[in-house]
Symmetry: C2
Subunit: 212 residues, 2 copies
């Protein structure tokens, strides 16, 4: 029922994925500083000029890999029933978007592993860290209208922004720790969804004042 994409558009989407894949592989192997834009272009089979038509900078080339999981999370959250509380809706969206047996398993199996390899290189690479932070800054802005629907009417806009920032940080830190911990594929407690839920709950627990 979706209008079938034109042949040209399919090729464009294909080359974009191709560039992103090779960029992620090269960055993971040699770091962003050790890879030239021309190197990525050559690996992807396009000219240098074409590379810069798809991505504004060479570091931006990996954003499709980085945004994949987060965009799914945003979509699931936007589709949550309005009767849920904010914290409950956040937990459900996290489970739905990151669970390996969830409805979005297609994305998982394909790109999640290369995303993981990329995230392992993020902490030590200033350029990659910059894109990673930019992606989450945009996610934080996109979260505000989504959370507004779930919050009680008339909520202070500043409170809304803070909730968005906190929820976004939970997603970010969960993915970071998931990427940098051992694999253990059989352990569901080490999966991204479980870690994200722990982050969300640690958020409310850490701010509860123990001694009044």
């Amino acid at each position: 029922m979706t209008t079938r994409p034109s042949l040209t558009e399919r090729r464009k989407a294909e080359t974009e994925r191709e560039i992103a894949r090779h960029a992620a592989a090269l960055f993971s192997a040699h770091g962003a500083a050790g890879v030239t834009a021309e190197g990525i272009a050559k690996a992807a089979g396009v000219s240098l000029r074409t590379f810069y038509r798809y991505f504004r900078t060479k570091e931006e080339a990996v954003t499709p890999l980085l945004t994949g999981g987060v965009h799914q999370w945003l979509a699931d959250l936007a589709a949550a029933p309005a009767r849920l509380s904010v914290t409950e809706a956040l937990e459900r969206a996290v489970r739905s978007a990151l669970a390996p047996e969830g409805p979005h398993a297609a994305f998982q199996a394909e790109a999640l592993e290369s995303t993981r390899g990329l995230l392992r290189a993020v902490p030590g690479d200033p350029a990659l860290r910059s894109v990673w932070l930019r992606v989450h800054a945009e996610t934080e802005e996109a979260l505000v209208p989504v959370l507004e629907r779930l919050a009680r009417p008339g909520t202070d806009p500043l409170e809304l922004r803070m909730t968005a920032a906190a929820a976004n940080a939970a997603m970010r830190i969960a993915m970071e720790t998931w990427a940098t911990t051992q694999a253990e594929p059989g352990d569901p407690e080490r999966g991204p969804a479980a870690i994200a839920v722990r982050c969300l709950r640690g958020l409310t627990a850490g701010l509860r004042t123990p001694r009044a």
Copy 2:
């Protein structure tokens, strides 16, 4: 009592401030993309080569302006008495570091206004936004050991990281909204300290589940 800095070291610190000042003024006026590194160097009275000895990239030149208030906040938080709860210590540190009549008024009057002008340019400038985010990412890391002292022993490291992220986001969003709202110098409710406290309280309020 502190060993007086050598003559050369004072000059180095002076030129660093000089570069940062001119960089902030030029970036605020023309945006980061509209200013060349050579332009900043010329304005500061140094050669282009020397400029890059002080800052790795041209955008980094404004970090001293951006980190000023945040570093004060970290120091005040590290000096908080251990008997305080986390939320209470955060509020006190925010008031102490950002209050216009606080003990750090020297920094306030001097650099706070140029920092404010810089922050107004941050949202629309990708390059400036990138440094702003990097500064707060480093602050978030630095917050973890500081908060560990205030939290109850044996706290989950993940919960600690989440608390650091939330507190850091409060500081960041408070400074952003303070910079982008009207001046109203006589109104204490619009001051950076008051906004930061609202952010911290909005954080706990937004995560409290209203309907159990």
